[in-house]
């Protein structure tokens, strides 16, 4: 049943996600052609850097437009998949169909989570590729090996462990943290919609509360260890800390991972409980 839910979920969200990301690719290709002909093929930057104010305005507008398009693609993907789709499909009129299917609440959560995560990852990859594809030329490619080796060699100084170890571990942490972040939103929606009134307001209120608790825990951890914490939900990173070294990397990494895992697991269990035992469709 999970497979069928995932199949139908993809079918529903692809209607928005595919055109959105095709649009992103199209904007990238058009932008690339524009840059290719105006900038890269004009070593003297004659056209762009000319004193003609209209070229300057046009280019500035195009860059703003491109940045907005990138943000829009990422924001729409996040908001639509993590919030709107979950709420609309399970807690509004469509919920009458979804919740009368012979399917467990956990299958609903997993199907939404998996489809959401796949698209969020695709979105991140496409956004990175878009920036890369738009601006990279031979000069940058030639400079890339040196830049990368510099990044790798300076990684231990900043984070306390080698890049080969640190980068995969941070990627894992970001993945766990993303999943946990999505589950928190699901939990807030599921709990908020079990109330009789002010369902959306309650959902938002619960989200604010959970975020605050998480931030406080991170702050306490930072205060104790003296590390600088970058908190997106529960991500604490030892970077730019006064106390570098492998021990601190591991301490912050394990703390962040445990906080993310705990938040995610508790959110999942609560969402499942409220969708199984406290469902309250209007």
């Amino acid at each position: 049943m999970l497979g069928k839910l995932i199949k139908n979920e993809f079918k529903a969200v692809n209607r928005l996600m595919i055109p959105l990301h095709l649009g992103l690719i199209a904007v990238t290709i058009i932008g690339r052609f524009y840059l290719q002909f105006t900038v890269f093929n004009n070593p003297g930057r004659a056209v762009v850097m000319s004193d003609n104010i209209w070229f300057g305005l046009l280019n500035a507008t195009l860059i703003v437009f491109y940045i907005l398009a990138l943000f829009a693609a990422a924001l729409i993907t996040g908001i639509y998949l993590e919030i709107i789709r979950f709420r609309k499909n399970l807690f509004t009129d469509e919920g009458y169909l979804m919740h009368t299917l012979p399917v467990t609440a956990s299958a609903h959560i997993w199907s939404k989570l998996i489809v959401c995560l796949v698209w969020v990852i695709v979105d991140v990859i496409l956004v990175v590729l878009s920036v890369f594809g738009l601006f990279v030329n031979m000069d940058i490619l030639r400079a890339l090996p040196e830049g990368l080796s510099l990044m790798f060699s300076s990684f231990p100084e900043a984070f306390g462990v080698s890049a080969g170890l640190g980068i995969p571990l941070y990627l894992l942490l970001i993945l766990v943290d993303s999943v946990s972040g999505i589950l928190v939103i699901y939990m807030c929606i599921a709990v908020g919609h079990s109330f009789n009134t002010h369902k959306i307001l309650s959902s938002v209120g619960i989200y604010v509360g959970v975020t605050m608790i998480n931030s406080i825990l991170s702050m306490i951890f930072s205060a104790i260890t003296g590390m600088v914490s970058y908190t997106s939900m529960s991500l604490t990173v030892a970077a730019e800390s006064t106390v570098n070294g492998p021990a601190y990397f591991w301490m912050s990494w394990i703390f962040s991972l445990l906080l993310s895992l705990a938040t995610g697991v508790i959110s999942y269990l609560l969402a499942n409980y409220f969708m199984t035992k406290k469902l309250n469709l209007e």
């Binding site: 049943m1 069928k4 199949k7 139908n8 079918k11 529903a12 209607r15 009129d93 469509e94 919920g95 009458y96 169909l97 919740h99 009368t100 299917l101 012979p102 399917v103 467990t104 009789n196 009134t197 199984t276 035992k277 406290k278 469902l279 309250n280 469709l281």
Partner: protein
């Protein structure tokens, strides 16, 4: 006769408002049951509780021996009083969806009924009238070989000709193991197909009797009795 559904002390409160108050009710198999009552009497609340869309405040529900959950949803076919399909879906999408999730869904039966009512399977729901959407939804629900059909206001929005056809399908589709629970205000229209009636008022069951009993003992039709009991 074997029990299909049984609820004990079923209570549902929304804040201070009590929608159902200690309802004890048993439904048997092989019956068409009218769930009748004025607006706000608890009809929809009862049906939503049976389908697990609401959790009871207290009391228990047992359908075929289980509390509402994935097991009971396999055997309960539910028509809500609102349209729950996405407007971008075509009728074929919905047919596929029901085939995917309900083992008891009979696609041929659904296609026959759609053809009979002149509904094109390639039409999008968004371009249909409200009445046509309701027909599609009812066809989906009645094309399952369920044991309990819960129909919440199934004929409110459709024209009288289609109404007759739909009632006919309800009678012909169900078997001796299945029961149909129909909530409606349009008593006169469905009176002839009903075996039993339940009168519900302010969350209490006022009456649960067979139509024959009412006719014999009261000497009047269900419609007339309803008007008398719920006189404003």
């Amino acid at each position: 006769m074997e029990q299909l559904m049984n609820c004990q002390g079923l209570t549902k409160r929304f804040g201070y408002k009590t929608a159902l108050d200690g309802v004890n009710l048993t439904l048997e198999r092989g019956r068409i049951i009218g769930l009748l009552g004025p607006n706000g009497s608890g009809k929809t609340t009862l049906i939503k509780l049976l389908n697990g869309l609401l959790a009871p405040t207290s009391g228990t529900i047992s359908i075929n021996g289980s509390a509402p959950g994935p097991e009971t949803k396999k055997i309960v076919s539910y028509l809500p009083e609102r349209t729950y399909f996405n407007s971008w879906m075509k009728v074929t999408d919905i047919l596929n969806f029901f085939c995917d999730f309900y083992e008891d869904f009979d696609r041929n039966r659904a296609s026959d009924m759609l053809r009979r009512l002149g509904i094109d399977e390639n039409e999008r729901l968004g371009s249909m009238s409200k009445g046509t959407k309701e027909k599609v939804q009812l066809i989906m629900v009645m094309s399952r070989d369920a044991q309990l059909y819960c129909l919440d206001e199934p004929i409110g929005g459709v024209d009288p000709a289609a109404r007759d056809y739909i009632l006919q399908t309800i009678i012909t589709n169900y078997n001796e193991n299945a029961s149909v629970l129909i909530s409606t205000h349009l008593i006169a229209d469905i009176e002839n197909v009903l075996d039993d009636v339940i009168f519900i008022e302010n969350g209490h069951i006022r009456l649960h009797a067979s139509v024959d009993e009412i006719r014999e003992q009261e000497g009047k039709s269900v419609d007339a009795l309803f008007r008398e009991v719920f006189r404003c």
